[in-house]
């Protein structure tokens, strides 16, 4: 299966999108932490996490005895850059104005 197919297939499920939303909110969660937010069995949660990892949307890292899950937005970024960004004039005015932006952000 093509990489993009895996990404779209992984995203075509509300439970998996919810898992990504959880990680966007707070990254590096363990299986137990993610599972507690879902109304499903541990096996079910693991299956969904596996699909997300196979699509490259999750990166897992061992931290002591625990496995932590990190949202990896790079595959979505690749789709964005290839399919969407080409229609949009984009220029990186870089970080020059960042300070004022951060200040106004409060």
């Amino acid at each position: 299966m093509e990489d993009d197919d895996l990404v779209f297939r992984a995203l075509a499920n509300p439970a998996r999108r919810f898992l990504l939303d959880l990680l966007f909110e707070r990254d590096g969660r363990t299986l137990a932490e993610l599972e507690s937010e879902l109304e499903m069995t541990r096996i079910g949660a693991m299956k969904h996490l596996r699909v997300l990892e196979d699509a490259g949307l999750l990166v897992t890292q061992r931290s002591g005895r625990e496995k932590r899950h990190f949202l990896n937005p790079v595959p979505i970024r690749l789709i964005h850059d290839r399919w969407i960004d080409k229609y949009r004039e984009r220029r990186v005015s870089a970080l020059v104005h960042l300070k004022s932006e951060l200040e106004t952000k409060g």
């Binding site: 990190f70 690749l78 220029r91 990186v92 005015s93 870089a94 960042l98 300070k99 951060l102």
Partner: protein
């Protein structure tokens, strides 16, 4: 240990690239390559423990008033073409520079069929400004798309020879 309010402290990014580990290592550490994707600034790496690291502002960034050096740091571990550990501090903006040094790790692992896995782990503990910046959350403010954007550009460059950055 973990609470509902625990801050995000580590970010991990991964991309699979049809290229050799050597090519990827070069694209990360050689200024001729780093000027062709992402923030498009030239890098200076002294690739040994304690060696200096600087990422320079690109020409367009400098024309817009950016200082010469965008990011600085120090090499902690350099094991070409597999592993590069360094400190990383964005110094382009004084407010952000005050967040201090973070720890950045590149891991390069060859898989089957000419595909190589590149993983970036960025420890961003106590650096909320950097976290937003490198996650690409400030892109609408002209701050670039952070690591997802950099890695997307790196993959595209190595696989197609095309630069996303202009």
């Amino acid at each position: 240990m973990t609470t509902m309010t625990e801050a995000r402290t580590i970010q991990a990014y991964r991309v699979y690239i049809r290229a050799t580990p050597e090519a990827i290592w070069t694209a990360i550490t050689d200024p001729e390559w780093t000027s062709r994707y992402g923030y498009a600034g030239r890098v200076e790496y002294d690739l040994r423990p304690g060696g200096a690291y600087r990422a320079l502002s690109s020409e367009p960034m400098r024309a817009a008033g950016a200082p010469e050096v965008a990011v600085d740091g120090e090499v902690i571990e350099a094991d070409p073409p597999r592993r590069l550990v360094q400190t990383w501090r964005m110094v382009m903006d004084p407010g952000l520079a005050a967040e201090g040094f973070t720890r950045l790790t590149h891991e390069i692992e060859p898989l089957a069929d000419g595909v190589t896995k590149l993983t970036i782990t960025h420890d961003l503990t106590d650096t909320p400004g950097y976290r937003a910046l490198v996650a690409g959350e400030l892109e609408d403010r002209g701050a670039g798309g952070g690591w997802p954007w950099v890695l997307s550009g790196l993959k595209t460059l190595l696989e197609t020879g095309a630069s996303l950055t202009h």
